[in-house]
């Protein structure tokens, strides 16, 4: 069978990337294609004779399935297969990122609204949809578990009654996925020394990743009985590990290729339609394509954990923090997904980027009948940052101190101990980042005034024309956050890169092959830039990501430039060593410099430290490619102690600070963010243009959480706004100018000194905007997103 393609000849624009080494603002090879609509996303995949898959989902948040009748659906003309839990081919019927608790199809019980119950393959997507509607399911609704009280009640229905996962033994209730306490110092004694104590309760709503390319992929049955899967995902090998067992296939018979990804933000870390399409393909012997629409996408991936947070901060009169206690309750929904790791982050980063010696911390995630929650940009640190930054402002007000000054007095720096006891051993320029955003000039007052009257686009409400300046009050707010980079708590977080150097048409060309999912983060530029710098070649081809090379780990946790970038660098170094060895063997006698260790590859040549050319790479290669595959790991981490939370759990930290300037229409409760300035330390900007793009994107996603983005779940556990009509994300008119100030303080442990960039700006943007709204209105605003009702008391 031929490889799948897109009917219109769309392309992902891989191949030879533009010029530029490390530090250059190389343009994305797929940038123009995406802008002009020519980029091939996974939803554009097409194969001759392919069928279309469709998923029947539960309308209930919690119900027993008394019976399932697929006969009528199966009898529809054009329908090739209808599969339910009973049809699953292998002993393994569950999957999951950390805990395999998620049934491939509902196993006699549905635990959340939208849970997959049955799948259909038909020769037309509409036929499949209509057949799915003809499946008769007899549901008997069960009592709901929707919050901490109902989940941990003595007689609470258990979401997963027979848990054997690694957290089962230490959680206080089976409906708690994982709980992580962190205790350090002597809080009681410190509290006695505190001259001021502030407490607060905060709430974060359920944010969606809202990536624009919905879940989609194509499964093609292979002659060896296996399956070739073309898919938009964040981590091919993690998918593979979860898919193969439930198909009853060895991993070697499930071959995966990354297809065009339309954004991810954590939402593609879990599986969506991968197993379903593969099952249908294997059952029918035909290629099967599945594409979710926007409505289904809201049920097709996990969301950001909603959270309730209770904090207490104590300080002396001069603004020095004495202690901090907090309790963070995250709603993980029906299945575990990444909840345990989110708990680890929320607890270990709950203090924020501040030095506090005495802490008592507890974070936990619940199992409930709400939609499953897992990875999303910021991953547990977002929720905590909203609360601790609100607390810092509250404390500053109590002390009558400037909020930036209070933060400066408590800012961590290199050498500070985290609440886990881990020393921050790289630069931590928290005070400097705050200083920088504060020093920026403020946008002019009343910037909506023109000679023609008010420019409503610059006012709250925008073109909806709700104010011409009436009721509008300006506010300014600050926030700073800390995010870990890479996978933590002892996880073996490695990546693999294969680099091939050969002469093509008389020119040296490098091919970089990794399984790193390009989801928009910029690996397609950065990995080529690294190869150019390390190998001194102009031509670098990025091979499509697939499972023919070892795992690259996930495109998440701000880690891919660090870890896969590190692997590419490491593989290039091995290629270079091999090239020099060959050169020495071939030309060593011709020049004494070959014997020195200081040779470099530059401009397609082997050169001495002084720049003298020793040989052309093409001549050294002499028709034989150098081809190496290397695995690279960042330094190891440790698990957190279960009772004290102590341990060197994190690899690296990244820091960003924001200053938000907002105008609030205090009568209507509408907000215009006027400017959202950011300063961030990135260690080393491998691609400054991409770095600015990441910071602006993360900032905008944080703005969305501050003022509009929320999945609303009803008391019945059902999602009430699964559409872009009612789940609002910022438009360009909601997105203010975002001046970005980049610091580059190298982390000696990281490749090129770089620091993961993508997540930190998502943390501090939200509390900075809310602080600015508080400054404008004087309201406490303890919940995000802030709604007009909160601002108008209606």
């Amino acid at each position: 069978m031929g490889a799948p393609h897109t009917p219109t000849g769309l392309t992902q624009g891989l191949g030879t990337a533009a010029q530029g080494g490390v530090g250059a603002s190389t343009l994305r090879p797929d940038g123009t294609l995406k802008t002009t609509g020519e980029f091939a996303f996974a939803s554009d995949l097409w194969h001759e004779d392919m069928l279309w898959g469709c998923t029947l989902r539960s309308p209930h948040a919690h119900a027993e399935i008394r019976s399932l009748d697929t006969a009528e659906a199966l009898a529809q003309p054009g329908v090739y297969a209808v599969l339910t839990y009973a049809d699953l081919p292998a002993a393994a019927k569950h999957y999951g990122l950390e805990i395999r608790d998620t049934p491939v199809l509902a196993d006699g019980r549905v635990r959340h609204h939208g849970e997959p119950v049955a799948i259909v393959a038909a020769d037309h997507p509409e036929t499949a949809r209509r057949a799915a509607a003809k499946i008769k399911v007899d549901y008997a609704p069960l009592p709901l578990v929707t919050d901490e009280a109902s989940a941990t009640a003595a007689d609470a229905p258990l979401l997963h009654p027979d848990r054997t996962d690694r957290h089962a033994a230490h959680v206080p209730h089976p409906n708690i996925v994982h709980r992580q306490p962190i205790v350090r110092g002597d809080v009681a004694a410190a509290r006695a020394r505190a001259e001021v104590i502030v407490t607060g309760e905060y709430e974060v709503g359920m944010q969606d990743q809202a990536f624009l390319g919905p879940e989609s992929g194509l499964a093609v049955p292979a002659e060896d009985g296996g399956v070739d899967l073309y898919i938009a995902t964040q981590w091919l090998h993690s998918d593979l590990r979860q898919i193969a067992p439930v198909l009853g296939l060895p991993e070697s018979q499930v071959r995966m290729t990354l297809s065009g990804v339309g954004g991810a933000f954590g939402g593609r870390e879990d599986l969506s339609m991968q197993i379903h399409a593969s099952l249908l393909a294997l059952r029918t012997g035909r290629p099967v394509k599945m594409v979710y629409n926007r409505f289904e996408s809201f049920f097709g991936h996990v969301h950001r954990h909603p959270a309730r947070l209770r904090y207490e901060h104590g300080a002396t009169r001069d603004g020095k923090l004495t202690h901090m206690t907090c309790r963070i309750v995250l709603d993980g929904g029906a299945y575990a997904s990444a909840s345990p790791a989110v708990v680890g982050n929320a607890s270990s980063l709950s203090v924020g980027p501040y030095a506090v010696d005495h802490v008592d911390i507890e974070a936990l995630a619940l199992y409930t009948n709400n939609p499953p929650c897992g990875a999303m940009r910021g991953f547990g640190a977002v929720q905590a940052c909203f609360a601790y930054e609100a607390q810092m402002d509250r404390l500053a007000a109590e002390l009558a101190m400037d909020p930036v000054e209070l933060r400066r007095r408590n800012a961590m720096s290199q050498g500070t101990l985290m609440p886990t006891g881990q020393a921050v051993d790289a630069p931590a320029p928290v005070a400097e980042l705050l200083r920088r955003v504060k020093a920026l000039p403020l946008p002019p007052e009343k910037q909506w005034e023109t000679t023609e009257g008010a420019d409503v686009r610059a006012l709250p409400g925008g073109l909806s024309n709700t104010t011409h300046g009436e009721g509008v009050v300006r506010g300014v707010g600050y926030a700073v956050g800390i995010k870990n980079v890479g996978f933590s708590e002892g996880f073996d977080d490695f990546s693999t890169a294969r680099v091939r150097l050969e002469a093509v048409g008389g020119e040296p060309v490098a091919v970089v092959h990794t399984a790193a999912a390009e989801v928009g983060q910029g690996g397609v530029t950065v990995h080529a830039q690294i190869a150019r710098t390390e190998l001194g070649v102009a031509q670098v081809t990025i091979h499509p990501a697939d499972t023919r090379v070892g795992s690259a780990g996930s495109t998440s946790a701000s880690r891919q430039t660090y870890v896969t970038g590190g692997a590419v660098k490491h593989a290039c170094e091995a290629v270079r060593a091999e090239v020099l060895e060959r050169g020495r063997a071939r030309f060593g006698a011709s020049h004494p410099a070959w014997a020195t260790a200081e040779l470099r590859l530059e401009g397609g040549k082997v050169v001495t430290d002084g720049g003298e050319v020793l040989a052309d790479l093409v001549d050294v290669l002499a028709g034989d490619a150098v081809d190496v595959e290397r695995v690279w790991r960042h330094r190891p981490t440790q698990p957190f102690d279960r009772r004290t939370g102590q341990g060197d759990g994190h690899v690296q930290y990244s820091f960003a600070a924001h200053r938000a300037v907002v105008e609030v229409d205090t009568e209507l409760g509408l907000v215009k963010v006027v400017e959202l300035a950011c300063a961030q330390d990135v260690g080393k900007a491998l691609n400054p243009l991409s770095v600015v793009g990441q910071i602006q994107g993360g900032t905008t996603q944080g703005l969305g959480l501050a003022v509009m983005e929320e999945i609303v779940v009803g008391d019945d556990g059902r999602v009430r706004n699964p559409s872009f009509t009612d789940y609002l994300i910022p438009t360009i008119l909601d997105t203010p100018p975002i001046p970005v100030d980049i610091l580059e303080l190298a982390d000696a442990a990281a490749p090129y000194g770089l620091r993961g960039v993508g997540e930190a700006p998502t943390l501090s943007a939200t509390p900075a905007v809310v602080a600015a709204i508080r400054a404008a209105t004087g309201l406490p605003l303890t919940r995000v997103p802030v709604r007009p009702e909160h601002l108008t008391g209606t």
Partner: protein, 299 residues
């Protein structure tokens, strides 16, 4: 599903007479969403895209006769002087792409309480030209909305045009959404001063099962303006008068709590918009130099 494609108005009416359940489609910004999400699967779709006269308009002495399929963009660009309230409302519809496709006829056909045109049409005063093979009748806009997503059209009728009273004074339109663009109305308010008749008309959107006028508020204001001789003197309106008007506008709402917002907020916001739009239009009526709030410009 059959796709009917009449090439002229008479053919369109004949097709609608033959298939009264056929769903007319012009810009498709509403109908296609429903079809794509399988919320609606009519047996016949009646495409009006080939009926050229629907995209034309005529400006008469008293009325603009606006073809049912004139897109919002055209209204914003070409009819702002004659239909200022509707032009403002048109600018709040969806995105530029949607405004190139969406039409007032479609907004009326869908008759969603959240439709952006309705408050502007109610405030300006308009009649819907409903046509069928039986003939044409004019339905006053006040009588057009009969329920949530229901209107006064007979099954065999199509909207040919809307006759909208040409502005004889300042008009304003405001809409509240939780985003600064491309947002469905949480609630909306239209207000038009009619100095020729010395009346003020209003329209409220998304705050009752149908778009409504705030009759009590209009009556109160019309009486107060007449009694105080405001039309003649052009005096500034006392805040108490605007406040009472706003309160009566809030009182005209019968909103619900839903995922977009609370009933209490909608009632409150309509009052704020009523007060502000009254101030803007009255200041404009009084003329430059006497303005206290300044006008608005938008691109």
């Amino acid at each position: 599903m059959d796709f009917l494609r009449p090439t002229g108005w008479a053919d369109a009416l004949a097709a609608k007479a033959e298939h009264p359940a056929a769903v007319p489609i012009a810009g498709g910004t509403d109908v296609m969403v429903e079809i794509n999400f399988d919320q609606r699967r009519p047996e016949h779709l009646l495409d009006l895209g080939r009926v050229d006269e629907l995209t034309e308009w005529e400006t008469g002495e008293e009325y603009v006769r606006l073809g049912a399929a004139v897109p919002y963009t055209r209204i914003m660009e070409r009819l702002r002087p004659e239909l200022p309230g509707l032009a403002l409302a048109a600018h709040t519809v969806g995105s530029p792409q949607i405004r190139h496709r969406g039409t007032v006829g479609g907004n009326l056909g869908a008759a969603s309480p959240a439709g952006d045109c309705h408050p502007a049409l109610l405030a300006a005063g308009a009649e819907i030209e409903a046509a069928s093979v039986r003939g044409t009748r004019l339905i006053p806009v006040d009588e057009f909305y009969t329920g949530v997503k229901r209107n006064a059209l007979a099954p065999d009728e199509l909207i040919r045009a809307v006759r909208i009273r040409r502005a004889d004074g300042p008009q304003q339109f405001s809409k509240v959404g939780t985003r600064n663009a491309m947002v469905i109305a949480l609630c909306a308010f239209g207000l038009a001063l009619h100095p020729a008749t010395r009346t003020v008309r209003t329209g409220i959107g998304s705050a009752a099962p149908t778009p409504v006028r705030a009759h009590a508020a209009e009556d109160f204001l019309n009486a107060a303006l007449a009694e105080g001789g405001f039309w003649e003197s052009g005096r500034a309106l006392p805040p108490s008068l605007a406040g009472q008007f706003a309160e009566l506008c809030s009182g005209a709402c019968a909103p619900i709590d839903d995922v977009r917002g609370s009933a209490a907020y909608r009632r409150h916001a309509v009052g704020v918009m009523a007060r502000r739009t009254l101030a803007w239009t009255w200041d404009e009526f009084r003329g430059p130099g006497r303005s206290t709030e300044g006008g608005a410009s938008c691109a």
